[in-house]
């Protein structure tokens, strides 16, 4: 959360400009798809040098104490550019460690800046624990120096070094070749960097993660729409641009509406999260549901609207589609998300009774 005084607030739009410049310069969005060397590591190093990891961390730990507002445009621009890094993994972990409020957790935050720790959050479903866990596809695991492990049901949490005894990480190949994923197996892990109370860290970890995915999806969906319309303007059939066919125009308009509606909720949920205002957890989840749905629908339709070339590896619609579908399901399917918040949503009905 914020501790920066108003005078020290960074303008989110300045962050957007900085992000745009860096990403335009460094992202080769087809690298993973063409087997070119992974540019993610270099990009992450640049982000570190620009001080991005410090942005929302408290000043006492050497951070800049900025509210979430400064991250939102970065996540959005990363989604637009299909950036090959999981910045949000470490960023969400920093927020969660801050929420834990212990001295150990504070030291871990400082270690992110000073020792280059990269943290991958790991939410263990019920039945799994530090003693025994296995997760097949975790964002940002290749390259992570630490894991922030939280039991969804049991209430235990811990920060664990990737090299600790009992931790086995392996890079996994997925359909989303634009970002790196790894499998994690935990077996009788006892050597932990610090212990955490899941009740304190889990909500923040989750909400930050949902909002990061939501922003990535908003950025990606808008970019996918722009590229799709551009293609439709250039492609001629029956003696006219396919963008002039009303059936197709109306589909594009519907995507635009879905994206803008979702964006409005993501903006609001981010504002509320930044100050941990009323319903911040529920709103973050609802924002992700809408944003991911808009992205998935847009990217699915993009392939169809491109026609034959949309079916090729060479053209780009599938980059968006694969990313969109992972965004939609990682850490919880849309229905799991709905089930998670349904009770809280319905409880608001009680508050409406006056």
């Amino acid at each position: 959360m914020t501790s920066a005084t108003d005078a020290m607030r960074i303008d989110p739009e300045e962050m957007r400009d900085a992000a745009r410049r860096l990403l335009a310069d460094k992202v080769d969005r087809r690298a993973g798809w063409e087997g070119r060397p992974d540019a993610g590591k270099a990009l992450e190093a640049d982000m570190g040098e620009l001080g991005w990891f410090q942005l929302t961390a408290p000043e006492a730990q050497g951070g800049l104490g900025q509210p979430f507002d400064v991250l939102a445009p970065i996540y959005e621009e990363m989604g637009k550019s299909l950036a090959p890094v999981w910045l949000s993994s470490t960023m969400a972990a920093i927020d969660a460690l801050n929420a834990a409020g212990t001295a150990d957790a504070a030291e871990a935050i400082t270690a992110v800046f000073e020792q280059g720790w990269r943290i991958a959050p790991l939410i263990l479903p019920s039945g799994q624990s530090l003693a025994r866990a296995s997760l097949p596809m975790v964002p940002g695991v290749p390259g992570a120096t630490h894991l922030l492990v939280v039991e969804e049901a049991g209430g235990a949490g811990a920060l664990v070094a990737a090299t600790a005894p009992g931790v086995t990480l392996a890079e996994v190949e997925t359909w989303d070749l634009g970002r790196a994923y790894g499998s994690v197996v935990l077996s009788e892990v006892g050597d932990v960097a610090c212990r955490l109370d899941a009740a304190q860290v889990l909500p923040v970890l989750r909400a930050h993660g949902e909002l990061a995915l939501a922003w990535d999806s908003i950025g990606g969906a808008a970019q996918c729409l722009a590229e799709t319309v551009e293609y439709m303007l250039g492609r001629q059939q029956f003696g006219r641009a396919i963008a002039s066919f009303q059936a197709l125009k109306h589909r594009a308009a519907d995507h635009k509406v879905a994206i803008e509606l979702a964006r409005s909720l993501v903006v609001r949920a981010s504002d509320v999260f930044a100050v941990r205002g009323e319903d911040w957890q529920v709103l973050a989840t609802q924002a992700r549901i809408l944003a991911c749905e808009a992205y998935a629908a847009m990217a699915e339709d993009s392939i169809q609207l491109f026609g034959g070339v949309g079916f090729t590896w060479e053209y780009n619609p599938h980059l968006f589609l694969k990313r969109a579908l992972v965004n939609q399901i990682i850490g919880g399917s849309p229905d799991e998300l709905r089930d998670r918040v349904a009770a809280d949503v319905c409880r608001r009905a009680m508050a409406s009774r006056t």
Binding site: A253, S264, R348
Partner: protein, 394 residues
């Protein structure tokens, strides 16, 4: 006092006023099968709002109740919606379309004549659409010919909301057919008691009679009732059509938010406990509530941009389309939850937003947002052409 504090005070003031003045029995008095009761209740409620200065926040400050900022107007609509007040159905066209058209384009004499009358309850309707001119409004053919100091008007208008209750009509007529279709249109004010007018209510899909056909047979309209210049009525009509400036959606969205909670309470036996709901219903509630929150946020941004004068082309179309689709899905949820009971015609309340008491009625009624005021398809044309810059329809 800061603007924010002023708004907070206004909200408290309105809530207190509502506690004192909202007739507890208005729903019983606006039953769909009792038109006289509906009219009486609407007049009584309108009179109270006028007296309190709450009916005309959007009017210029020299008029009673006028001079409120857009932010205050939004607060007022939100509070009336949240407080469970009836909508100002009977006077909406008068207060917004008629009054704002006169404020922006009318003569001093027209304003002096009609604005005070509106405050006393003059009812207006809008006579734009014709059987042959709906989405393509500029194709309208109702003819007006000037003879001395009068126009002689013949033709047919249709879908005029409240036409059969109206004292006055905002009328679009053709005065020139020689040039482009937008160029020969003229905007007139028509007294509904004039000779040659025949108004026939049209029964709607809900069974309700809310709009009407207006047949015009050599109706005489004095030239002083011309708004703007002859053949320049299209411009005036645009003012009329944008006169409510999104406030209707603010009000309707607030009412929908409240109705969702009422629906959930009804479906959970008043507990709000999801255990009482089918899983797929609970999931739909999550989605609908997300879209309502998103609508609220999007409306707030639009209103902020309007206040700051930086509204973008197509913003209003994006909002309208988002809202109209939500209204279909929301009422479909109501239909699903009310189940078989919704298939019985149990009567309904007029002017109640989404709380008519019968979800089949609400479900049917929601089509109006998807058709009137620029159908969904027309909004999609606008969004694709003006926002996404795709080629125009010929």
């Amino acid at each position: 006092m800061s603007e924010q504090d002023a708004i907070a005070c206004l909200r408290i003031e309105i809530r207190e006023w509502l506690a004192q003045n909202l007739p507890g029995n208005w729903r019983e008095r606006q039953r769909g099968d009792d038109v006289a009761g509906f009219l009486a209740m609407q007049r009584e409620w309108f009179g109270k709002l006028v007296e309190a200065g709450y009916a005309t926040p959007h009017w210029p400050s020299e008029w009673p109740g006028g001079g409120r900022s857009l932010a205050e107007q939004i607060a007022l609509f939100e509070e009336l919606a949240r407080g469970g007040a009836p909508r100002m159905s009977l006077f909406f066209v008068s207060l917004y379309h008629a009054a704002m058209t006169l404020v922006e384009c009318g003569t001093d004499a027209q304003r002096a004549r009609h604005l005070p009358a509106i405050l006393k309850g003059e009812v207006w309707c809008q006579g734009f659409s014709e059987p042959g001119a709906g989405s393509d409004l500029a194709a309208l053919r109702t003819r007006a010919e000037r003879k001395g100091d009068r126009y002689i008007v013949s033709g047919q208008k249709i879908w005029s909301t409240l036409g059969h209750f109206a004292d006055q009509c905002l009328l679009l007529v053709r005065t020139d057919s020689s040039g482009p279709k937008q160029a020969g249109i003229t905007f007139l004010l028509m007294d509904m008691k004039s000779k040659g007018i025949d108004v026939r209510p049209i029964r709607q899909v809900t069974g309700d009679e809310e709009f009407a056909e207006i047949f015009l047979d050599e109706v005489e309209i004095p030239v002083e009732n011309l708004v703007g210049k002859e053949n320049e009525g299209w411009k005036v009509a645009q003012v009329t059509l944008s006169s409510e400036r999104g406030l209707t959606l603010v009000e309707l969205t607030e009412r929908m938010a409240l109705s969702l909670w009422r629906l959930v309470l009804a479906a959970t036996g008043g507990t709000g406990d999801t255990a009482a709901l089918d899983v797929s219903v609970a999931r739909t509630v999550v989605d609908i509530s997300a879209r309502i929150e998103a609508m609220r946020a999007m409306l707030a941004t639009l209103m902020e941009n309007r206040i700051a004068g930086r509204e973008a082309v197509g913003d209003a179309s994006i909002l309208k389309l988002a809202y109209s689709r939500l209204s279909r899905d929301f009422t479909a949820l109501g239909l699903r939850l009310q189940g078989f009971a919704a298939m019985r015609d149990t009567g309904y309340v007029l002017g109640a937003g989404y709380e008519t008491g019968n979800w089949m009625f609400d479900f049917l009624n929601s089509y109006q947002y998807n058709i009137a005021g620029g159908s969904n398809e027309i909004q999609r044309n606008i969004i694709s052409e003006r926002v996404l810059n795709m080629p125009r329809e010929k």
